[in-house]
Amino acid sequence: MLRPVSATNSSNPVLGRAASDLIEIKDLNFKYFGSTTPVLQNVNLTVKNNEIVLIAGHSGSGKSTLLRAINGLIPHQHSGDYSGEVLVDGLKVSETSMSVLALKVGYIFQNPENQIFMFSVERDVAFGLENLALPQAEMRERVDWAMELLQIKSLALRAPHELSDGQKQRVAIAGVLAMKPKILILDEPTSLLDPFTAKSLVNLIRDLRSTLGITVLIVEHRLDLVAKICDRMVVVDKGTVVLEGSPREILSKTDVSLFGVTEPTIVKLSKRLSLEGEKLALDAQELTTALKPVA
């Protein structure tokens, strides 16, 4: 259901945590040290197990800060005024060490170069595991598994900096998945990729959700690529969650460009033709199917 989210709306206050809730954010406020304005204000959000959630909003609306509050970079690495509570798989983020959180939450930065730095692809994929001090055999097994999954086995001995952006992105994801996290967070993962590579990354994310049963949070501006695979869309504006619902619901009822999100052309056209709600077309194929019986 599409609903404006009020500042006091905590998730399920009576029943407490539902078994399927993997991430719970309650009345979260955060202000970076030295800054005068809060980046996050009264954020309430619940993410269920195995959901793909799209987070959208203006640049500077607080999307990345929100993601950092889930993997623990906030409050552990960035100091500031923090209030409220973030629970990840039942653990209170503010009281859980980054190393424990790293096993729960895998984080893919916008630019993969920020997280790959070893001399070969397989060393890079293994880096997180080496820090866990896992037995050699298990490490080998997980690295091979992750490289297989991301189809980068043929690149194992290549130097990461020689790879294309799309390949680098896959190396970064493999390194994160080797840790077997429950949650995968991607911050604008397609912004450096060409449309074909971007589309295959989006399909990969969709497949990882079903094969691994992981939960995905994704910040992405290109709705034409990503809206279709997302169960839920969360719009962040001025540091707070202003809308949440299925992408079709939100796109039907709201002009998302008010929140800095480019409305895909097909969505615009679909709305002009009064194909809305469940009927809203997210791509050319859907719009054609919707119109053809009329013809």
Binding site: S59, Q110, S164, D194, T197, A198, T262, L269, R272, L291
Partner: protein, 280 residues
């Protein structure tokens, strides 16, 4: 600034004649590129990562010189010109803004180019203020550029290049990190520059941004131009787009699926009108 007289007789602003470029490591990035650009043309260069798009545009401002063949800009061989001479008239905004920013504040960053090109202090002041204003950077004027977000840095790079008013503006991936409002401003800016008889060259993956502008399109793959023509001709031909690993714009896909002869050029409103007539 005075344009060369040869521009008035419709001679090309930029011309590439059989241009090859090999990187020092031996990789051949351009393998015989031919095209020319006329005054006030808007050109979008599309193609997958590594197709040679960035290498091509770096030949236009003289950052790279061809290994074989000839690149002329404003009628002069770029081998005879320094990139300092060219950069006054050919502004380039790099893909990665970190390669372009180094000053202590946003304002100083914009001042730097202007001062280098010898603009007087009062023109400089005016230009800096309008650049800050036009690109929604006033609030950041005194902050270090490295503290800005990726999208804001990109906007600063465009602002600082436009400030010295080049005749050709090359934008490498301008829409990365920009929200809908900023993308709309970029479209407006492109149209405005075109109306001032300037050339805008967009290197981008963002075909949805490009399509409403309906520029001339060059598709590249493996160091070669595989198609060159109008947006309609190039992007509605799947033989071309497949060869360059480019996805067609949504409206092209839709028009094809519906069996229309010509894809809708832009506004959904236009498409809607046609659809209402055809489908009652």
């Amino acid at each position: 600034m005075q344009l060369n007289s040869n521009l008035k007789d419709g001679k090309p602003i930029v011309s590439f004649e059989d241009v090859f470029y090999s990187h020092p490591n031996g990789n051949v990035a351009l393998k015989g590129v031919n095209f020319s650009l006329r005054q006030s043309e808007v050109l979008a260069i599309l193609g997958s990562n590594g197709a040679g798009k960035t290498t091509l545009v770096r030949h236009i401002n003289g950052l790279l010189k061809p290994t074989r063949g000839k690149v002329s800009v404003f009628g002069e061989d770029t081998k005879q010109l320094s990139s300092a001479q060219l950069s006054r008239r050919v502004g380039i905004v790099f893909q990665n803004p970190n390669n372009q920013l180094f000053a202590q504040s946003v304002r100083k960053e914009i001042e730097f180019g202007l001062r280098n090109f010898g603009f007087s202090e009062d023109i400089l002041k005016k230009r800096v203020e309008s650049a800050l204003n036009d690109f929604s950077l006033l609030d950041y004027a005194d902050r270090p550029p490295m503290e800005l977000s990726g999208g804001e840095k990109k906007r600063l790079c465009i602002a600082l290049v436009l400030a010295w008013d080049p005749d050709i503006l090359i934008l490498d991936e301008p829409t990365v990190g920009q929200d809908s409002e900023q993308k709309e401003k970029l479209s407006e800016m492109t149209r405005l520059l075109q109306s001032q008889n300037k050339n805008v060259i967009l290197v981008t993956h963002d075909v949805e941004f490009v399509w409403p502008l309906q520029p001339r399109i060059i598709l590249m793959a493996n160091g070669l131009i595989v198609a060159d023509g109008t947006s309609q001709a190039v992007l509605s031909d799947s033989d071309f787009t497949n060869r360059a690993d480019v996805l067609a714009p949504q409206l092209v896909d839709f028009s094809k699926l519906m069996g229309f002869l010509k894809p809708f050029p832009s506004a959904p409103f236009e498409a809607e009108k046609i659809l209402r007539i055809e489908h009652g």
